[in-house]
């Protein structure tokens, strides 16, 4: 792999950009791999990357039915934060946030991580108490957050209306080291690093069946023929239930559509991420100047990747109330992704009833921020059978009633 650097840019400028390599290869699948990861999104690629980097396992294939990073990795609103309530969540999300800080250097790929600060508005007394509690929990967990008053909110976000007619801003949970990153670049950067380690990224390769022998996985059937493996990682978000059914077990997951939209680009007006969970909306401004807006999920199971119109209406109405100056903005694009939601709003990183099959899913409406931490922990789980980061997130917690209840941190926006 040729390193990207200022020197490389200057060198290629002199020879008409003829020296750039393809960022990742498109090989034909082999007959067998040590590990197959299904799903070349952020979590799948990060898992493969850390299998190679942390454990030296490089005979790995990453199968993707569509194109690389074309699922929820390319559909989210790119928010990164770690201000969760429960200890296991704080551990994995904070690991993730800290890995984002050095990701551009680690991958030699600019993921445009922007620690601009993430603010979660408290607009009811209930939320004030909830976020004060979270701030205290975060202090014990070593995650730097603070509860700030309305004056500080107005100072950080001048365009906000703090004495709104329905829900005045009473304060906010502020994480100064949260922020955003370029979602596609995260997938591309990992893909380039994985390909460089000799891993095979196989796109347009849909898994149609899972082969087992004596309760142990032996391989997968795909539209490009059967491929053998010793270990299989399913990292497919909304389609996890569908794959689990092929393997013969069920997951405590329901798939729903979550949507987002962006406005036309405008001059810089807001340099932090603002989330307003009471009124169902969150917003940040991209480097291009577009206001990136996320809304709520549809209230029923679906796989449509678009989302219901009245939910956009609800989100936009809430944001116009909170930020009156955006009332006349035109919206450019709207899209949806299928998110996999668990009962306690926490992910599942776990062994399964089938020996050799591991599942990483249930990130629901907030998986992007967790990509590097999830990859780190899940790779350890797949390589060694145990990871302190993922131990609390096993499937057995639903049998034992040992939930990691994050509905406070993740009730709506994520």
């Amino acid at each position: 792999m040729k390193r990207y650097s200022a020197f490389a840019v200057a060198r290629e400028a002199l020879r008409n950009n003829t020296g750039w390599d393809r960022a990742w290869a498109s090989p034909e699948p082999k007959k067998k791999y040590d590990v197959i990861i299904i799903g070349a999104g952020g979590h799948g690629l990060a898992t493969a990357y850390h299998l190679g980097k942390n454990f030296g396992i490089t005979n790995v294939a990453i199968l993707e039915k569509g194109w690389l990073g074309g699922g929820n990795t390319g559909r989210n609103t790119t928010i990164i934060r770690s201000n969760y309530l429960q200890d296991p969540s704080a551990a994995i999300y904070e690991k993730s946030r800290s890995l984002y800080e050095t990701m551009s250097q680690d991958l030699n790929y600019n993921v445009m991580f922007s620690p601009r600060g993430c603010m979660m508005l408290a607009q009811t007394q209930h939320e004030v108490r909830g976020y004060e509690r979270t701030a205290h929990a975060n202090a014990l967990q070593g995650v730097k957050t603070e509860f700030i008053g309305p004056e500080r909110v107005k100072q950080l976000v001048p365009i906000i209306n703090i004495d709104g007619p329905r829900y005045p801003v009473l304060g906010a949970l502020w994480q100064a080291r949260g922020g955003t990153a370029r979602h596609d670049a995260v997938a591309w950067g990992y893909a380039r690093a994985c390909s460089d380690m000799g891993m095979h990224i196989i796109q347009k390769c849909e898994v149609t069946g899972i082969e087992q022998s004596g309760g142990k996985v032996t391989g997968v059937n795909t539209n490009r023929g059967p491929i053998g493996c010793d270990k299989l990682g399913m990292v497919v978000a909304g389609h996890s239930g569908h794959l689990a059914e092929m393997a013969g077990f069920r997951l405590p997951i329901e798939s729903v559509a979550l949507q987002a939209l962006v406005s036309e680009p405008i001059k810089p007006c807001m340099d932090v991420v603002v989330m307003a969970n009471t009124v169902h909306g969150y917003m940040s401004q991209s480097d291009k100047g577009e206001m990136v807006i996320g809304g709520g999920t549809d209230g029923y199971n679906n796989y449509t990747q678009r989302g219901a119109f009245h939910h956009i209406e609800e989100t936009v109405r809430a944001l116009v109330e909170t930020f009156p100056m955006i009332a006349r903005l035109k919206m450019l694009r709207q899209w949806g992704g299928i998110v996999d939601v668990t009962g306690d709003r926490s992910p599942i990183l776990s062994k399964t009833p089938v020996d050799g099959i591991f599942v990483n899913c249930g990130w629901g409406t907030g998986g992007f921020k967790a990509i590097p931490g999830s990859g780190w922990g899940f790779a350890e789980l797949m390589a060694k059978g145990y990871s302190p980061l993922t131990d609390a997130f096993g499937l057995d917690r639903f049998y034992e009633g040992r939930f990691i209840d994050e509905s406070v941190a993740a009730g709506v926006a994520h």
Binding site: R250, L251, S255, Y303
Partner: protein
């Protein structure tokens, strides 16, 4: 936007008038049941890509619960039927079979 007909009051309305209530025809397991049965009743979801039988409530109307048969990929509603039943009635099964031959959902087909 989904358009549903409430079998209780006969009103046909848009989805904003209703509220989804998740998977239908659950068999309840309470105290005294095995851990596996209790877990499956509470958490294991069919979550199918295709035909789904589910509960809805007409909460901005008559307020009563009913069942619907719907496709989770196309959002097509095959029909609605009263909640006072433990399995989908034959006319609903027939309506689904016309559109999705060979369908199955849990033990029903």
């Amino acid at each position: 936007m989904l358009i549903l007909t409430c079998p209780n009051c006969g009103v046909t309305g848009e989805e904003t008038e209703f509220h989804g209530g998740g998977e239908a025809h659950l068999k309840r397991f309470g105290p005294g049941s095995s851990e596996g049965d209790f877990h499956d009743y509470l958490f294991s979801k069919v979550n199918p890509k295709g035909v789904h039988l589910e509960r809805w409530r007409h909460n901005n109307g008559c307020g009563k619960w009913f069942h619907a048969a719907r496709d989770t990929v196309t959002l097509e509603v095959f029909g609605t039927y009263p909640a006072q039943t433990t399995e989908p009635p034959q006319h609903i099964r027939d309506a689904i079979t016309v559109k999705r031959p060979g369908w199955s959902w849990r033990e029903f087909a």
